[in-house]
Amino acid sequence: MQASPSGSPLPGTSRRSLLRGLGGAAVLGAGIPLLSACGGSGASSDPKTVTLGSNQSDAVPKKAYGEIYTAFTKQSGITVDVNTKDHNTFQEQINSYLQGTPDDVFNWFAGYRMQFFAQKGLASPIDDVWEKIGGNFPVAMQKLSKGADGKYYFVPLTTSLWAVFYRRSVFKQYGYEVPTTWDQFIALCKQMRKDKLVPIAFGDKDAWPAMGTFDQINFRLNGYDFHVELMAGKASWTDSKVKAVFDHWSEILPYHQEGFMGRTWQDAAQTLVSKKAGMYVFGSFVAQQFTAKADLDDLDFFAFPELSPEFGQDTVEAPTDGFMLSKAPKNKAGATQLLEYLGTPAAEGIYVKSDSSLVASSNKADTSSYTPLQKKAFEMISGAKNLTQFMDRDSRPDFTSTVMQPALQNFLRNPKNVDSILSSIERQKKTIFASA
């Protein structure tokens, strides 16, 4: 090798590499505007198109929602440009999604989770829509659709319900009766164990199903008001009332399906489908796992048994899904029109015809196409004195996901440690609720 007098490498090679570098820099420079273009050009301001962000990625609901949008387009001439994301991913990205360039209308949940984004100014109030659709909904639904400021932010579409699901043929075969009290419930669990059935199917790999069981025991034992206070961070988790919930849970825990920590809710549902399990405390969307019509017709449910005569079975956990309007919709007029349509009994009727695991939020929706299961769910919801959403919809999501999910899993593993678990929850709760 020959060194140049100045000590720097040969000019020939250096120029070539410089040119190469220039090319690289040009590519990079060209790449940056391209990247930034990705974010902005997603939604068009075409008055004949409304964009909609959907979290309904499962096959059954996706198809059902699609049919509603088709019907809307037929009626109004406005195309709905649906941007579907995986259900969990949508939830995980919701913060950045709503702060970026969200679609005009997006799928979301009623309850605290809706109010949170309304309060943060990431959703637009839709009182004008509610002037038209208000009459279609019962008072409980109207309450669920309002933000903390009293304005409407949400159009409910479908409601599921949590209860104890079972198969009629199994109950008939063994001569079981639907339990209405705690003692009957425990006796039934014992009998099922004797009959070599798994008394209560259970899977908590996803960490949220356990919250459903907690909610049921909590509002049966302590009532709706205590549920609200506890979820809002006002009541203490070290209260003896909470301890009593876990004591009752410990009583039925031995009758839960073993190995639940590694099982998804879908797999747990399969044990009910295959008649290996007697009961399943779950949401009505469990029906989506019953793919054969004969199995689905055999599915039935009863309200979680009474624990306190004061509260009876007056509360129903009925998580409601629906739509919100983003903070700065590109096509506000079109989006308003779409929301008005989504709030009609007609739109709800289309949905519940395609997905028999949910019922319409409106009490005016056409119920003639309801399956017996939907009819029963509809009656239970209409007859309820109080409606709750779900632990992670009624409380702060940061609290439920980072504190309650691991804490409940810990309890399920070590029911005897309940005292230390509860004081740990209370300490963490104080920090989280203080930060707002």
Binding site: G259, M261, P397, P406
Partner: protein, 326 residues
Amino acid sequence: MSTETKNPETRKAAPLASPSGAAPRKVPQGHRRLLTRRDRITLGLMAGVPTILHVALVWLTALASIALAFTTWDGIGFDSIKWVGVDNFRELLTNNPQFWPAVQHNVIWFVVLILLPTPFGLFLAVQLDKKIRFSRVYQTAFFLPVVMSMAVIGFVWQLIYNPDTGLINSLIGANEPGHYIDWIGDPDLNLWAVLVAASWRHAGYMMILYLAGLKGVDPSLREASSLDGANEWQTFKNVIFPTLRPTNTIVLVVTIIEALRAFDLVFVFNKGAQGTELLSILVTNNIIGESSRIGYGSAIAVVLLLISLVVIIPYLVSTFRKERRA
């Protein structure tokens, strides 16, 4: 060779040779002539663009994350950032039931990787280095898991460990009531179950690293030791292994990095449920998602950064010291 040794002398000599200030001015002029305007712009871009990217994507984000660790922020609007001092760290160290298990699991992860799959990878490399038949087939088979993404590995093993329909429980009949083995959920089992999957991949990785190291061992060393009457084990222990020193350093660093960045496999496997908590998963759970406890999550990330520094700084110091000596 001679020009190279002479070169620094001439360079140093040049400014000394000129007594007046005219000559030093001449030297930069020479540079200016060599580098045209365009060259300088290009050079500026070449050095500038990567520097800007590096500073923006590595340093600024790291510093921002450290700053955020002392705040509380829900990620919505900059005006909601509130300074809270060391509250996040106090909360983390005293109140978070998942923090200490997570630190412990990261350490276990490292210890297991360095004690089991690493020696096994070395063993495989030594065997494959012997030019046995179908060596390429074995190499490919052992290296295949490394090519797969961790998420895919997590998914595959999760199917194997599934309590109801998984391969293992079905084979040993552990999916009946009363005999359940919950590989994924049981905190006494799941870390080990997931470490089997991690080791499966890590062994292949280590095998390739060692195989490359072994290819670089001078064959005459083997010859000499066999002439001296050393048996295979003695040759390996006293001759081959000491020459693999540079490879061992790389292996150590790679394993430490793997232990600290362990995330995807566990996240797919069981989302870091009880028994498999890891620092990286705690960071993700707090920052990403609806929860958005960005300040708190950043505090965990800072702890992870500190642990990484404790491991990396001694390594860098010793490497630089060696370089300076050489």
